[in-house]
């Protein structure tokens, strides 16, 4: 019983904290973010397992985590509003070449991040070559260049 409760509790707590820390935090993988991710994984593992290292406990936890994830995907399908809370929605940061400063500030995306993505995805050199920039649900930036 304890394994299932631990699994569900840790899943929900992680979901809430990761979602509330903002989309950019975990998607912007700098070297330090990678280290942070490893530390979070290690900390979570201890809370999940406690001092029970049996295979039965591991199997129960894995099944619990998968089932919770499957159930959550159904909840998101049935209730689109819940999906917005759990996954978020895309944010348009540049529309027809015009910067939305407020959205950038609230979503904590710097102009440098957008230019970085533009260079990487399309080899763009300047801001005026970008038509749209969208902060996607997954936390990465999509760039659509101005058609020549």
């Amino acid at each position: 019983m304890e394994s299932v409760l631990r699994g569900v509790a840790v899943y929900v707590i992680l979901l809430v904290i990761v979602r509330l820390s903002g989309r950019r935090t975990l998607a912007q993988m700098t070297a330090f973010d990678f280290v942070l991710l490893l530390i979070i994984a290690e900390t979570t593992q201890q809370a999940l397992l406690g001092d029970d290292f049996s295979i039965a406990n591991a199997v129960l936890l894995i099944v619990t985590l998968f089932l919770t994830d499957i159930m959550l995907s159904y909840v998101k399908e049935w209730m689109p509003s819940a999906s917005r809370w759990i996954d978020g929605t895309p944010t348009v940061l540049i529309s027809l070449g015009k910067l939305d400063q407020r959205a950038m500030q609230r979503a904590r995306v710097a102009l440098e991040d957008i230019l970085d993505a533009a260079r990487e995805q399309h080899g763009l050199e300047r801001l005026d070559q970008i038509k749209f920039a969208v902060l996607e649900v997954g936390g990465h930036l999509s760039i659509i260049p101005i058609e020549k």
Partner: protein, 173 residues
């Protein structure tokens, strides 16, 4: 395009030509909520530094004092994490007696007692530990504990046969 695709509600095309549902009102609300949540994270950290999360800190332990002595016990403890209760006997006696009510053992496992009691007695009132030494009784006894389940652990402590005093420890999951 097959039949299933047409069954999905269409995603509207914005004025700027992007087919995307932004839900900007929701996002504004969520961003505000997110900022308040960060304040909440900060408050959780401050509470933890003060000791309300267990594991040390000014508020993690508290002391009750009576004529027979004082008991320093955890106000907040953590499930399966080591903690301790320190008993300091007041008046000098040949032997000292520490009695813990039965509720204590439902929540805590005693891992070690320093110094070890000479004998231990069980009664409906709980477990009594008698401490004695050749050079007089120890004035201080430390019980090293490990909480066995989360919840509100309410138990009674009695020193040298005095009136039992009720104490409560919050055991965090």
């Amino acid at each position: 395009m097959n039949k299933d695709d047409t069954a999905q509600p269409p995603i509207p095309i914005r004025d700027d030509g992007l087919q995307l549902e932004e839900h900007r009102d929701f996002q504004e609300r969520f961003w505000t909520f997110e900022r308040w949540a960060w304040v909440g994270f900060g408050l959780i950290l401050l509470a933890a530094l003060a000791g309300l999360g267990g594991g040390g800190g000014v508020l993690a332990h508290t002391t009750i004092t009576s004529e027979a002595g004082k008991v320093d016990y955890p106000r907040v403890a953590r499930w399966e994490s080591a903690d301790e209760v320190t008993v300091t006997f007041g008046s000098p006696r040949e032997e000292h007696r520490l009695t813990l009510s039965p509720q204590f053992s439902q929540y805590f496992q005693i891992e070690d007692i320093q110094p070890l009691p000479e004998r231990s007695l069980t009664s409906p009132a709980g477990e009594a530990m008698v401490f004695r030494s050749e050079n007089g009784p120890p004035s201080k006894v430390v019980l090293h504990l490990r909480p066995q389940r989360p919840g509100l652990a309410s138990y009674e402590v009695s020193l040298d046969g005095g009136d039992p005093v009720g104490v409560t420890t919050v055991v965090l999951p």
